[in-house]
Symmetry: C2
Subunit: 242 residues, 2 copies
């Protein structure tokens, strides 16, 4: 793990790093020492580790909860090079949708493919970050919606260190099998008028989670229109469980 | 409006009253003076205005938010006499369910009938309570699930003083028409494994609400198993809107 930049602003210490080929960012409270809960965040499709909503959410986890937060670029996103195979599939999928195919199953297949790469990558990041003195081996949470849900469900299912997860804006086609292996508390976001994920598939993914405590929050609006008060709920959810 | 008893305990001032034939209870902060938000609570079927969960919730509204809270017995419940017509219908419905009819449409029809009596009753209670110096004409919220939702939806639709409502554990058969006239913010509770209200009907009632801000909270478990953390969410919801 190699740190490439360190900055501090508004009580948040930000460290950019690379772990092998993976570019990442770690946010912690300024002057933090000792173990603390860690949130791993997965960004949305077409976004990256430091997209504005990621940075804003991380800032709240750090300053309001004292958590550490880590995020990395998904292959083909942010500071990572284009992946020829993923690009080819994306182009093919665009053509298939243009020809009348349904979008959701294509997205699901693509996310399942990418998850085979990101699950071990994220586990390696967790290993490395938890060795740092100001993060330590505290409880881990996962936050990710949309692509961050499609990749997050197999990750949370595979990773026993994750004790609680906020997921959503994703459907059962992508990950119902992995969802059935998730038993930790989950807060699950649904946009009632999601133009990208059919409502029935969202509800089916929530249904598939094996967690004894899982809570679905559905709000009116499209895929990108999650209301601001859900961010408050997310903070309380993690504060309760980590 | 006639007060029949006044007691004070743990910072909560409790006044039992009758308004015409309606027995009710008003909870306010001890030594309260001046206008404040008021929550009207509707109890569940077979329950009454001072059922333990009603009293506990009211206590939190009063002590944590400084609100006033009023609740009255639904006809045929609590301190009110049996209503021969309602009893006859309930007995008939039991026989029809025993003979294989679906429960939900029968409950819906019954609640619609009772609501024709309770909507004007609750409006009269609101009039009377808001004339009291320690309640005043502040913003009004409504809380009611199960029977309290079946009767609450037509009430909230009819009563412009209500600015926000927590509803749920109820289905669209009972009240989709009235729900389509509700435009205030709503937090809507669904029990994912509700044995009394089919899931599709719960989701359809949420769908029918015309509110621009409405948020559905679904949790695993049966009709009576709403998790305790939803009470916290209810408090925050009303604190945000009243």
């Amino acid at each position: 793990m190699r740190f490439t930049s360190e900055t501090s602003s508004g009580g948040v210490f930000e460290q950019l790093f690379t772990l092998g080929q993976i570019p990442g960012v770690l946010w912690t409270p300024a002057s933090a020492a000792g173990a603390r809960p860690l949130i791993l965040m997965g960004h949305g499709g077409g976004q990256h580790k430091k997209a504005p909503d990621m940075t804003a959410r991380a800032g709240r986890f750090v300053t309001e909860c004292g958590f550490a937060v880590a995020a990395v670029d998904v292959p083909g996103h942010g500071d990572r090079p284009v992946v020829a195979e993923y690009d080819r599939i994306a182009t093919e999928n665009q053509a298939r949708v243009a020809a009348g195919e349904e979008l959701a199953p294509l997205v699901a297949g693509f996310q399942a493919l990418v998850a085979r790469q990101t699950v071990p990558e994220w586990q390696a990041v967790l290993d490395a970050v938890q060795e740092l003195g100001h993060v330590g081996a505290g409880p881990v949470g996962y936050w990710g919606v949309s692509l961050g849900c499609g990749l997050g469900v197999p990750f949370v299912a595979a990773e026993p260190r994750v004790r609680a997860a906020v997921l959503g804006l994703g459907g059962a086609l992508a990950s119902a099998g992995a969802a059935a292996r998730i038993t930790v508390p989950v807060e699950f976001l649904v946009q009632w008028d999601d133009e990208r994920v059919p409502r029935a598939q969202s509800l089916a993914l929530f249904d598939a989670l094996a967690s004894a405590e899982k809570t679905l929050h559905a709000n009116p609006g499209k895929h990108g229109e999650v209301p601001a008060f859900e961010a408050d709920s997310t903070l309380r959810f993690f504060a309760r469980h980590l």
